[in-house]
Symmetry: C2
Subunit: 481 residues, 2 copies
């Protein structure tokens, strides 16, 4: 057992002891009935005061992980949960453990754990800064909400008709002509991917995605046992690749053709056409994730869905990026039999999305509040992008390259040397700077980080980028590199 505690300023010694012991038990190393060393001995091994050990053990007892037997110290309790936690890994993870690189998962866990701590500077977060969220206007708009009692019951499977109509209107403006029964409301695009994975695909289906992909950082398809394969929209052999790997099997292609996460890149018209045609010929359905569209600084190409004559594109949108993640409102657009299937799965999962969120979303879309807010947001993000580019230029002009952002949150910063490894990430973490390294999105990629100008304030960006530069210099001067 590892008895070494770190001097991490945000995890108390007590919390670290609790975590270490919990880990032993959860992993089944210490089974029910195991007697723990005496408090004095534990204190010595951990190198802490006995009172700290005592407090940690009390916490573990309160959680039911330990139990005391009169006069003979602490034992791993036989509480039923211990056994469950130890023996079973969540089913959703069973396929991930073997298929996704460990440093990837571990890095994501460290990011998730550190994000709530306000003392971290978050240079990679794919989320609007609280100051960019229209809290006051949302609060104000609640005064105008009229609640129909029928809307407060259990939802229809497809979600609020009023909201679906508002979404159809919004989609018409970008060339997608949908009726309300082609739309299913979901609690954000991630839920949409879960429903597609569980409701439409067989295990071991092939899911194509770009080589730097958001799907490597969340795992809706991997966790259901799909095989992940990469493709490149700009590659002339895309068609051949899809045909070879996908033939004879169920398959699906996932793409973010507008403002890709993490690269920020948008596909050209030629790429859109080529991928659509290839998928059309090969009967491969396309999931077009278009959640960043409303953050384009200048009008972009229409979505692939707009010229989908065969109904093979399943289109995803969301208000999480362009209004508020807390609403948990997104949508799927597809042929009605597909929508019916997905809505059915959704009802079995959570009986529909919040009626209040749906009413608020409908009100914002209908009233023009949404469009006005998105317009303001774009201009604020654009100002942030300009600032960020200058700050990057001043510090990394000689070491890194990037493309000018056309919208959204991200700059896919490419260091000329492969320095963005796990130790680089950890050194920055120790200095309270949180980055999203490229290897989260493209396993093995040590050249990139996903820089986000949407979250940190200007002052934080400067401080954070100075520290980032420090660590870049240290990596570059390291003879072991």
């Amino acid at each position: 057992m590892d008895w070494k505690l770190s001097s991490h300023p945000h995890h108390t010694l007590q919390a670290q002891i609790v975590a270490l012991i919990t880990e032993r038990i959860e992993q089944g190393d210490w089974v029910a009935g195991t007697r723990l060393p005496a408090q004095r001995e534990l204190a010595m091994r951990f190198g802490v005061n006995r009172s700290t050990v005592q407090a940690a053990l009390d916490e573990l007892k309160a959680d039911g992980l330990l139990e005391t037997r009169r006069g003979s110290g602490a034992y791993v309790s036989g509480s039923a949960w211990n056994a469950l936690l130890a023996r079973s890994q969540p089913n959703w993870q069973r396929h991930i453990r073997t298929s996704v690189h460990r440093p990837n998962l571990h890095t994501i866990r460290l990011i998730n754990e550190s994000e709530p701590d306000p003392s971290f500077i978050r240079l990679g977060t794919g989320e609007l800064s609280p100051e960019l969220l229209p809290a006051k206007q949302l609060e104000q708009s609640l005064h105008d909400l009229k609640l129909d009692p029928r809307a407060l019951g259990y939802s229809e499977p497809l979600g609020s008709l009023r909201l679906r109509l508002a979404i159809c209107n919004k989609l018409a403006a970008i060339g997608i002509h949908a009726q309300p029964d082609h739309v299913c409301i979901v609690s954000g695009a991630l839920q949409a991917l879960q429903l597609i994975s569980v409701g439409l695909l067989e295990e071991r289906s092939a899911v194509f995605h770009e080589s730097a992909s958001y799907l490597n950082s969340v795992h809706p398809f991997q966790s259901a046992g799909m095989r992940m394969l990469t493709f490149q929209p700009d590659s002339s052999d895309a068609r051949e690749r899809l045909a070879r790997a996908g033939s004879g099997r169920q398959s699906l292609l996932y793409a973010v053709p507008t403002l890709n996460n993490p690269t920020g890149r948008s596909w050209t018209g030629k790429e859109r056409g080529a991928v659509y045609d290839a998928c059309s010929d090969l009967r491969i359905p396309i999931v077009e994730d278009d959640v960043y569209r409303d953050l384009l600084f200048a009008p972009g190409l229409p979505p692939i869905k707009a010229s989908d004559s065969s109904g093979q594109v399943l289109y995803l949108g969301s208000l999480s990026k362009s209004l508020s993640p807390g609403l948990r409102i997104g949508w799927i657009v597809a042929p009605s039999p597909v929508i019916a299937r997905l809505a059915d799965v959704k009802m079995q999962t959570d009986y529909g999305s919040s009626a209040f969120s749906q009413e608020i979303a409908a009100h914002w879309l209908e009233s023009g509040l949404y469009a006005h807010n998105a317009w303001q947001l774009r201009s604020e993000l654009q100002a942030r992008a300009v600032f960020a580019e200058q700050a990057l230029h001043d510090r990394f002009g000689e070491f890194a390259d990037w493309e000018k952002p056309e919208g959204g949150f991200y700059i896919w910063l490419r260091f000329r040397h492969p320095i963005a490894d796990k130790s680089f990430f950890r050194r920055l973490l120790d200095r309270k700077v949180l980055i999203n390294p490229g290897y989260i999105y493209a396993p093995g990629d040590l050249h990139h980080i996903r820089f986000s100008y949407a979250y940190a304030s200007q002052a934080e960006m400067i401080t954070g980028l100075d520290i980032l530069r420090d660590e870049v210099m240290r990596s570059l001067s390291n003879p072991n590199r």
Copy 2:
């Protein structure tokens, strides 16, 4: 192929044709490339106008199910979705199909399809009537909501701390002493069951439930491949039964000890103690579903969780029954390692519940609005229960028995003869009266229906019960019975 259309007043002929053809394609009977009969022939077979056939085919084309080839009519299209829909059943259903009785599933589907139609009288619905939902007060309360911008971003894994604190306060009043890190916010109790199923259990684990059980009408455990076993809290062999069936395997016991769904019954103190002790000795975790507690007409026994010294009870609550289903707010209370695991699965599923719903829920709990509303609701439900009992007595006194309801929505009406079969259900359906037959909850039970006094108005109850009596008489006089 079945070419017969019904004269169902709520499904147009066009819709029926669309449904029949879709079914053929989805079931893989008509594969891609199948040529449909000419419109004239279809019109003849269906016995409808050609224009109706034309309209149905147009709808199917718009959905991508059919395609036209110049001059040679309509073909089943090779659209990728058809193939997916035909070949794959949703994974969540793979275990249900073999393990749950068909009439059960089919009846539930018919109920779900009919419920949105306002011309049906709903005598079984487990949901508050719109007139019992405090729409005006909810609308008014939105004016008092103060939105912290940080609350509008992505949620913490466990959900809003403010709401978790409010829930801890609420729980203290019924003897459950929890800290915020013992609580995870979920989108209703059904989602809680899904998370438990996916996050804590291995496939083929044993899940114990009562023989008439809500779990037979939804399938969170069945769909993940668990083995469902029954137990009776009042049976002296409960312990032996749990021990025999559960030994050597992972298992879990699910119970609604207060106002059970569908029976409305509450366990005695002795039953609570016996089941807890048996599970304690056998290390079987208990899921205590307590969503009806706030609808007890008189104070009841405390939850099992209140005397849980070993942390083996996982406790579920919700605002869906006692405030509004549209909020989609419920909670799980458990030891913190269990909560951490479930919260992790929840984040991977939908990134948390609606921030707006969470804020509204916290405001209602903190301000006393919730308690006041629940008090009013109880008195309205009690008045409905009295009315319903009189109406039942007048019509079914000689044919049926039931227990006086102690709260909640339900009367578990027992006919002395086994008449409540599928055909009984269908005859009532044809007469626009929707009942929840007992066999949904207890496979093979033809004696019971779950009568709900929470949804239909008094006038509807009278009309509906008169029709119900008619059909009961018809069943009783049927010599084939």
